[in-house]
C-alpha cells in the first residue's frame, strides 16, 4: 500500500460518510455542515490528484461562497417545519432505487474503461496553460492521449481553444449579476 492509496482511502471514506450524513440528518444546518465536509473532501481529492486549481476553485466557490450563502439563508428563514425535515417513506424508496441504479451504472461503466496510459512527461501542467486556453491560444492542448475510450478507438485530437465558451459564460454571469442587482435594488414608491 503506497501513501497515495492510503490517503485516497481515508479521504474517500470521510467524503462518503459525510455525504451519507447529508442524507440521513434531519436538521437543515447539520445537513449543511455535513455538506461542508463532503465538499472539502472532494476538493482534497482534487488536490491529491494534483489538480490544484480545481481543488482551490472548489473551496472558494462551494465552501466560501455557496455554502455560506446557504447557511445564511437557512438562519434567516428556517423556522418550525423547515428546520426539522422528515422524509416520507415513498420518497425514501424512490430515492433509494434511483441511487442504486446510478451506483450500478457507474460500477458497470468503470469496469469497461481501460486504464489511462501514463502521459509522456511526469510533470503536471500548471494553471498557465488553462488560462492561455481560455484566451484562445490553441497550442496549449495536453499532449497525452485521450483516456476513457473503449480499446482500439483512436481519436485524432484537433487543437481546441476555449475563448468562445469562456466569453459566453462570462457574459451570462454578468447578465445574472446585473439581474440580481436589479431585483435587489431599493424600490421607490411611485408618487401618485
Amino acid at each position: 500500500m503506497s501513501l497515495p492509496v492510503v490517503l485516497f482511502a481515508l479521504l474517500a471514506t470521510v467524503t462518503a460518510v459525510s455525504a451519507l450524513g447529508v442524507v440521513l440528518s434531519r436538521n437543515v444546518v447539520r445537513m449543511a455542515v455535513w455538506l461542508l465536509f463532503t465538499l472539502i473532501g472532494v476538493s482534497l481529492l482534487y488536490l491529491l490528484l494534483g489538480a490544484e486549481f480545481v481543488g482551490a476553485a472548489q473551496l472558494i466557490v462551494y465552501v466560501g461562497g455557496t455554502l455560506v450563502l446557504l447557511v445564511f439563508g437557512v438562519m434567516l428563514t428556517a423556522q418550525g417545519p423547515l428546520r426539522e425535515l422528515r422524509t416520507p417513506a415513498a420518497q425514501l424508496v424512490v430515492g433509494g432505487i434511483l441511487g442504486a441504479i446510478l451506483v450500478s451504472l457507474l460500477i458497470v461503466v468503470s469496469y469497461h474503461i481501460v486504464l489511462p496510459n501514463p502521459p509522456e512527461q511526469d510533470k503536471l501542467p500548471g494553471v498557465a496553460s488553462l488560462g492561455l486556453a481560455f484566451l484562445g491560444v490553441t497550442e496549449t492542448n495536453p499532449p497525452a492521449a485521450l483516456t476513457g475510450l473503449p480499446e482500439g478507438t483512436r481519436v485524432a485530437r484537433t487543437p481546441v481553444a476555449y475563448l468562445l465558451p469562456f466569453e459566453i459564460v462570462s457574459v451570462h454571469l454578468l447578465v445574472v449579476l446585473i439581474g440580481a442587482a436589479y431585483l435587489a435594488r431599493a424600490k421607490r414608491r411611485v408618487q401618485s
Binding site: 492510503v6 455542515v33 482551490a56 473551496l59 472558494i60 461562497g65 455560506v68 494553471v127
Partner: protein, 405 residues
Amino acid sequence: MPEFWSVYLPEPWNLVAAGVVAAAALFGYIGISTFFAIWAERKVSARIQDRLGPTRVGPFGLLQSLADGIKLISKEDVAPAGADRFLFKLAPYLAFCAAFCGFLALPFGKGLVALELNIAAFFMLAVLSSEVFGVVLAGYASANKWSLFGGVREAAQVVSYEVPRAMCVVIPVCVAGTLNLNLIGQQQTGWFWNWNLFHDPFTFVAFFIFFICATASCKRAPFDLAEAESELVAGFHTEYSGIRWSYFFLAEYGSMFAVSGLASLLFLGGWHTGLLPFEPSEVWGFWWGNLLNAAVFIGKCWLLVGVMMWMRWSLPRLRIDQVMMTCLQYFLPISCGLLVGVCLWLLLVPAGAAEVVRYALALGTAGFLLTLIVSLFRYPPMSAPRGQLPGAWDGVRTPLTIQIK
C-alpha cells in the same frame, strides 16, 4: 524537505515526517505569534488610551498571555442548554483550521514553504474565505439571538469584502504573471523599487485597498461588527468560554498574520529587505540567508499587524450599513477600475516611462517616510508645567489636576 528526510527514512515515511515537521512548525509559529500579539494588542491599546497596560507578569508584562492561557484552560467548558452541542463544539476548530491552512502555502523565504503550490495566492484566498463558516456556525449553534445576529453580520460582511480583496490580489498577480507566491517573492529580489507596490500607481493604491479589505475580512475593528460589544454583548462568541473561546482568538490572530503575510508577499517584496541587491540565501549560505529571510518576512508581518492594532484603537466602529456601503459602493468599483488600469498600464505604457514612474514612486515614498520619522524626533515631546495643559492649550489651567500639598 522530503529530500532531507529521505536520507533517514524510507519512501512514504519521509513525506509523512516532512508534513508533520512543517505542520508543527506552523502551529508553533501561529501559537507564539498569537502569544505575543495579544500582549502587544494590550500594550498598544493601553498606550493609545494613556494607560500602562500589563506590567505585573514578567518583564513589561510579557508573560501576561501565559497567565491568561492558564486561566482559560482551567475555566469550565460550558454550553448553553438550548445549543446544538455538536456544532457548538465544532465551530471554534473549524475557524482555526481555516486560518491554519492559509499558512500551508505561505513562503517564509526562498523555498521556505510547507507546500509549494503553483496557485498559492488563489489557494490562500480560498482557504481564508472559508474561515467565516466557523463564525457563522458559532453564531447559529449558540441558541442566542445576539450570537445569531453576529453570525449573520459576519457572513454578509465577509462574503462582500471577499470580492474586492480577490480583485486586489489579481492586480499584483497580473504584474507578476504567476500565482505562485514563491515566484512572486523571487521576482522582487533586490532594491525596494523592485517591489510590486511601486510598480505603477495602480498597484500602489491596490495595496491600501487590499489591506483595508483584509482587515475587514479578519473582522478587526473598525469592521468588527460580528462582535460589537456595544450592541451585541460579544457577538458570535457570547456563549463561549475557556479553551474554545481562545481558539476563536487563535483563529483571528492567525488570519491576521496570514493576510499580512499575503500582503507583504504580493506588494512589499516578501522576504527581501529591499536594501540588499541580491538574494541572501544564495550569497550568505543556506542557514544564514534563510534565517535573515524568515526574520525579515516575520518582521513585515508584525509591522502590518501593528498597523491593524493601531487602526483598531484609533478609529470608531462603523455601522453595519456603512460597512456594506464602503465595500459595495467604493471598494468594489475602485478595485475593478484598478484592475483595468493595471492591465492597460502593462499594455500601453512604454518601458522608459514605467521605469521613471517606478523610481519616482519608490523614492517619493521612502523620502516621505524618512521625513515623517525625522519630524517625530525633531521636536521635544510635549510637556507642560504641573496643572497646565500642553500643545494648543498652552498656558490654560486644567481643572482636573489634583492639588498635592
